[in-house]
Symmetry: C2
Subunit: 224 residues, 2 copies
């Protein structure tokens, strides 16, 4: 399994980058340290200049990999969803019972992220935290419709569709499968955000996990 994973490359829409960061050492350092810096400073205060200083490289060199920091965010978020989709498919693929499969899917999406040694330059735990705190910014823009047409959100959409199909598999008559699927994906991020910053607005925390909450929510919704 380890060897299998080591040969895997997460495929990200190539419009997110000018030059594939996986293709060079500098590229990988850009990705590695952008995750550390965005996590540390927040996306808004993060700049290519600061990143260049940190990795001892020039601002203009970073621009040879990514057009701007928005595209870098699209790259990082797409990579994240691609990585999670892999876990998702891997974990659910062999399960034939639809309800069990759905249960597993909810689990994969909502459980806390742990480090994956397969991608040494990417810290998935910090990246997950970036997704929780910054993902919305990738689509809450005036360019969202164009960027959607260009396929920048494909992987995320595919995840929602996979989830939706699993719901429909368990309960074909449930009329809100797409909405419920998107609620689970988006809601998971939101509940983790609330745990961090508005604990009074969530039951999740030390005793209750997002997985328990969403498992309950989904199965109660679709059980007749």
């Amino acid at each position: 399994m380890k060897h299998l994973l080591q040969t895997i490359k997460i495929e990200v829409n190539n419009k997110t980058y000018v030059k594939d960061p996986e293709s060079s050492d500098l590229g990988k350092r850009i990705v590695e340290h952008s995750i550390l810096m965005i996590h540390e400073l927040g996306f808004d205060s993060f700049t290519f200049k600061k990143l260049g200083d940190k990795i001892g490289s020039n601002e203009s060199s970073i621009y040879r990999y990514f057009e701007n920091k928005h595209k870098l965010l699209l790259y990082l978020t797409s990579w994240y969803w691609g990585w999670l989709e892999y876990q998702f498919v891997f974990a659910t693929n062999s399960i034939s019972n639809p309800a069990e499969k759905l249960q597993k899917a909810i689990e994969v999406i909502s459980k806390p992220v742990v480090l994956d040694a397969s991608f040494s330059h990417i810290n998935e735990v910090l990246l997950n935290d970036i997704i929780i705190n910054e993902y919305s910014k990738s689509y809450l823009t005036k360019e969202v419709d164009n960027e959607n047409k260009e396929g920048y959100f494909e992987i995320y959409k595919r995840m929602v569709m996979r989830m939706k199909e699993m719901i429909t598999e368990v309960s074909p008559e449930y009329p809100f499968a797409a909405s419920l699927a998107s609620t689970v994906l988006e809601g998971t991020l939101h509940q983790y955000f609330l745990v961090q910053h508005f604990p009074s607005l969530t039951d999740c925390g030390d005793e209750v996990t997002p997985t328990e909450y969403f498992t309950d929510l989904v199965f109660k919704s679709i059980d007749k």
Copy 2:
């Protein structure tokens, strides 16, 4: 009722502004046109300079009302939630049956917004669209914990708590009332966003309303 409403002022945390925009003509024009401009350009492209040009006033005059555009966003969003809270309390207050009350609450939160003539310089429909497309940006910042302490999100939090209490009223044993309440508030905005930009990820649209979806979600979740 009209006269009653006309005398009402939505109370917004006074730290959001330097000088109360309700206290002068210029202040009201700033608010009025900031809503139009943020709706038109998106929050990211909106600047005080552009707003000044539009209302034939000077950039520096706008700074006498709001420290920066982030604070203006906090003002607008607080105003919106204050306004919605008013509708919420007004509509549910007289209902004694807890389930009916909860149903009404979900309705108020999730139904499409219509213009309210009581506040002539504020277009609630456009403001609602700003909330759908920009609200997350008001809290997805590195300053969120400080700003939370200073009370900038009080009204929103109060709305979630009101919702939570209504859920608990109907079903005291349901263990995820806070999470479900925050899911309804946040999820409503997200479903409307999906209708606009990612229709394949939602069932809401011409035939299904967010109200139907969330009513189903909430009552199925809390019914034993």
